[in-house]
């Protein structure tokens, strides 16, 4: 799932040809209109913007003259301010008769020249103030762009533009002076140079900052290497500025800016000119990322402006004031184990409830009800349930709530503090809770918030043994104040679903996981605090990587909490490694370390390893090329990220008689791909013949010490999971495989969900072994027939919906004498390696492996008898020689044919 930045369907670009009086929509390509009789316009939900040639020519002709006039005016005003200040100081000191002894100063201050200087100085101050104000805030603000409804888009497509339904706005009014300055500086003799404009824009500090945030390096060499020059960014007639400025306006509207600034012109150039798009892509970034940064800056400007309570343009959040408590009821006892969220929220400028607009509305309307005003926020850990109640507190402060909850306080009950307080001498929990509830009833202005409300259920009062929930239940059922609780899905089922009265007393509000774009927005609001905490600069690709990787690899928590955790861990990792800038690669490395999954970009060395993977596995797995090829193919897809991320890396069923290497291949793949020290998870399905054994599979709260599959995969999600002899398992247990293969996850008995999307699932089965062996004993040429018959038996033994979900069913061919000889060589090499570590050298001639293979082979038993034969006849003999003292370290041993014969 990719991040949807929400640029679509907010603006429509159109053109008008005055020659033929035709209109059209500009969609994929972005033309630059040069002819005077061709014009571009932009449409939003309620407005249409145009820019005309006279407006452009007026700007080109006069803007720099006005600029020159303003510069001179400011210079004169600055000069006049200085003597004015001196005169003003003189006037003040004269009041204290300090100049009576200096007649020259006295007479100067009394003269009309001093008055004149003072008068002009005050006038200069006013003019400078006016200019400062004008520079700081652009006089006209762009309206907010809303989503254009699909119906209207269809109408435009079918009928055309109906301009009478929009109000007309002049683009030129929204363009700031610095933007016009860049444009006019790069127009010469009615020719507009795109290249020199781009270079001028690169030197603007805001754009330098944007590029730094996007982790894009720009220098002269980079520009040359990417062929950014006068040819790729040519010079156009000045009339093209109409198109360029309309594109810049579109960028300003999309990035929620109130005016068209130089960064929007920069984005417009990047959008229109392919060479600049390539340059951004070359730096592993995109126009989306640049836009998002510009939007972040726009939001930051608004946020900074909103910190001043005396700024009439921003909403004022009420705090209650010095005498607020006079009208509220006493909550003396409750205050020992609670906190006032409305007060806490008033201190911060953070935005709460991002991505939960509908749930927030539902919560506000529930709290405003006359009856049944308790609400239960149900959602998985990390979805932002608490953030919702903070959002309500913010709306109460703003006054943006129904009259029923206006001026209410949200008090959060701290269960741990309640337990701690009740454990003090002379305190009784039952009494404390009763008194606190009575206080709340009397106060009449409180919304009680209980985070993780399920914690109330098992917590019991020491004296009476009653649970807190039990003590509170009558108050919850008949409360005259609203109660809001949060609970996760499994605890809701456990505690609320079974309790009818408790369930009926709450209105359920589902809190879903936020979207990736909302999670990104939430991370953006945390950039400043993270940067100051961890002392590192966070780039936007790092934020985006945190959201995407958290969504994909952090399965125990939901967005946005998982993304916040990921970026915090990455910042902490960067700090520990003395990194000043946090990039996407750094986030990937941090996730790789934490999750033990390689999510970083593939290095050249790794590419070579991946290419050699098949060769390496085939060296260790003899005669099963089809199985090796299938698994290696899946692993390559996984590492290059072209697989389906919501399913396991691969799910295979290996069939065949014993000893053909089904388990061995799983072990080898695990070592070769995940590393030698990596342990494979092996589940013997013969232990799951009874349905009762499902608890061993899915974990059980009654036996927390047993290690279930869920526990193993939670500890080690990036591995090979081998289910041995699946035909022996209970069919109901096999049904669980459907979820694993389809969705890449499995839910435990305790409601936890574990992730299988980074695991390779290998199931083995001996179904059809007898058919294979019997048929092949008759003739080796009957392999295909034997295989088909074995598969038919498989279809009869396992359910088709299960078989259908395997990526591949591979029938392992029994080993012939050639393969067995090769396996013998591998086993002897292995023995040689072990003996070399002990200081012995073992040698054998070319005939030995074949002799062993011939001597040891038992039809239908595969390679296992060979291992046993080597153990008994070679390892045993060497051990005896060592014990008898005939072999010393450094001695050489030769395997004799007589040992085998």
């Amino acid at each position: 799932m990719a991040i949807d930045y929400g640029w679509q369907n907010r603006t429509i670009l159109g053109y008008h040809s005055k020659d033929s009086d035709r209109y059209g929509v500009i969609s994929n390509k972005f033309p630059i209109l040069t002819k005077e009789l061709e014009a571009m316009f932009l449409i939003t939900r309620n407005h249409y913007f145009t820019i005309s040639t006279p407006q452009i020519s007026n700007v080109i002709t006069n803007f720099l003259r006005y600029q020159k006039f303003n510069d001179k005016k400011r210079a004169i005003a600055n000069i006049l301010v200085v003597p004015g200040i001196v005169v003003a100081l003189g006037y003040i000191l004269r009041l204290f008769d300090l100049f009576t002894s200096i007649p020259i100063i006295e007479s100067f201050l009394a003269s009309s020249i001093a008055d004149l200087l003072f008068g002009f100085s005050i006038l200069s101050v006013i003019i400078l103030w006016h200019d400062y104000y004008k520079d700081k805030s652009h006089p006209t603000k762009l309206p907010r762009t809303e989503l254009i409804p699909q119906k209207e888009l269809e109408e435009i497509k079918n009928i055309g533009f109906q301009f009478n339904r929009y109000s007309h706005l002049d683009t030129i009014k929204y363009i700031t002076d610095p933007t016009l300055n860049v444009v006019c500086q790069n127009v010469d003799k009615n020719k507009f140079s795109v290249y020199s404009t781009f270079i001028s824009l690169l030197q603007i500090p805001t754009i330098e900052e944007i590029l730094k945030r996007a982790d894009i390096q720009v220098d002269a060499q980079e520009l040359r290497d990417n062929q950014i020059n006068n040819e790729t960014l040519p010079t156009y007639p000045a009339t093209t500025l109409r198109s360029i400025l309309i594109y810049a306006l579109e960028e300003a509207l999309l990035t929620e800016s109130k005016e068209v600034r130089p960064e929007h012109l920069f984005l417009a150039l990047c959008k229109v000119f392919p060479v600049l798009q390539k340059f951004i892509q070359f730096n592993n970034s995109s126009l989306d990322v640049l836009r998002e940064i510009v939007r972040y800056n726009a939001r930051l400007r608004i946020k900074r402006g909103s910190t001043n309570i005396f700024n009439p343009n921003v909403p004022y959040y009420k705090k209650g004031g010095v005498a607020e408590s006079w009208v509220y009821g006493y909550t003396f006892i409750l205050s020992h184990f609670s906190k006032d969220l409305t007060k806490e929220v008033a201190k911060t400028r953070d935005v709460f409830g991002i991505g939960h607009d509908q749930s927030l509305e539902a919560l506000v309307s529930t709290l405003g009800k006359v009856n049944n005003k308790n609400a239960l926020l149900i959602g998985e850990a990390g979805t932002g349930k608490s953030s919702l109640i903070y959002g309500v507190a913010q709306r109460i402060n703003r006054g943006d709530v129904p009259i029923q909850i206006k001026d209410k306080r949200i008090i959060q009950l701290d269960i741990n503090a309640l337990i701690a307080h009740s454990s003090k001498p002379d305190q009784n929990m039952e009494e404390l809770v009763t008194k606190a509830m009575t206080e709340l009833s009397r106060a009449g202005d409180v919304i009680l918030f209980i985070d993780e409300i399920q914690e109330l259920m098992p917590t019991k009062a020491e004296q009476s043994g009653h649970s807190i929930a039990g003590i509170m239940l009558p108050y919850i059922l008949n409360s005259n104040f609203p109660i809001v609780g949060t609970v996760n899905n499994s605890d809701y089922k456990k505690y609320f679903y079974t309790n009818e009265s408790l369930r009926q007393s709450f209105t359920n509000i589902e809190v879903e996981e936020v979207s990736l774009d909302d999670a990104l927005y939430i991370l953006e609001t945390k950039i400043n605090s993270l940067e100051s905490n961890f002392n590192c600069y966070i780039t936007f690709p790092a934020l985006i990587a945190a959201v995407e990787l958290a969504h994909r690899y952090v399965k125990d928590r939901k967005l946005p909490s998982s993304a916040v955790q990921t970026i915090e861990s990455a910042c902490s990792w960067a700090q520990a490694n003395n990194l000043e800038i946090l990039t996407a690669d750094n986030v990937a490395k941090s996730v790789s370390i934490q999750k033990k999954i390689n999510v970083t970009a593939i290095s050249t060395e790794e590419t070579t390893d991946l290419m050699k993977l098949e060769e390496n596995i085939r060296k260790r797995v003899i005669g099963q090329d089809e199985a090796v090829f299938s698994i290696v193919d899946a692993l390559r897809r996984a590492r290059t990220d072209v697989r389906n991320p919501n399913k396991p890396i691969g799910a295979y069923l290996f069939m065949g008689p014993t000893g053909v290497g089904k388990t061995h291949i799983a072990k080898v793949v695990c070592e070769e791909f995940f590393g030698e020290d990596h342990k494979m998870i092996r589940i013997d399905m013969s232990e799951y013949q009874e349905i009762d054994s499902i608890d061993k599979f899915l974990g059980s709260s009654e036996n927390p010490n047993s290690v279930s599959l869920i526990d193993q995969i939670k500890r080690n999600p990036n591995t090979v999971v081998l289910f041995d002899e699946i035909e022996k398992a209970n069919p109901q247990i096999l049904d669980l495989f459907l979820q694993i293969f389809d969705e890449g996850r499995l839910t435990s008995n305790m409601g936890e969900t574990v992730d299988f999307t980074n695991a390779i699932i290998i199931c083995t089965s001996n179904i059809g072994s007898k058919i294979l062996l019997d048929t092949l004993q008759k003739s080796q040429s009957l392999w295909e027939e034997a295989k088909s018959r074995a598969l038919i038996e498989l279809n009869h033994s396992l359910r088709p919906e299960l078989l259908n979900r395997f990526d591949k069913v591979i029938v392992f061919q029994p080993h012939n004498i050639e393969n067995l000889t090769k396996i013998t060589i591998l086993l002897l090499n292995d023995l040689s390696k072990r003996l070399t570590e002990k200081g012995f050298i073992i040698k054998w001639n070319d005939q030995i492996p074949m002799l062993i293979a011939n001597k040891a082979q038992i039809p239908g038993m595969g390679a296992r008898p060979i291992r046993r034969y080597i153990q008994d006849n070679i390892e045993g003999k060497i051990a005896k020689e060592i014990l008898e003292g005939n072999l010393k370290s450094g001695d050489s041993i030769t395997i004799k044919e007589s040992w085998i014969m």
Binding site: T50, N62, R65, F69, I122, I156, A323
Partner: protein, 133 residues
Amino acid sequence: MESKNLVMDNSGQQLLNETKVDSYFEIFINFLNEFLKWWYIQMPIWHIRMMKRIVLVLDDNLSFSLLFRNFFLPWHRDRSIMGYIVGIISKLVYLPIALSIISTAIAVYTLFFFFWLLLPPSILVFIIRSFWI
């Protein structure tokens, strides 16, 4: 997609080389015009909004309207006779003080507002007077 709607007519189109160049005198007049609009239209509106904001901040910080709305509510919602008596007496004492602070702020800002309006002509008068003398 092509359609025949009218967005604008072709009248009034000027060629680039026909644009009029503003003289510095015209630029000065434009500046004066803009300055006066800012001083006498935009800023007075801003001052009125600022005055409203100051009243809002003072009202909130002094809990004036909150107490006024809940004038007859007993002290800390203690619905005993003493609670009612203490509540009303404390508000009777406190509310006039809060009101006087808010009124003073309004009065001072109103004075400043008039000072603002009179500032440019008074400076001009001051400068002309210095010439005269």
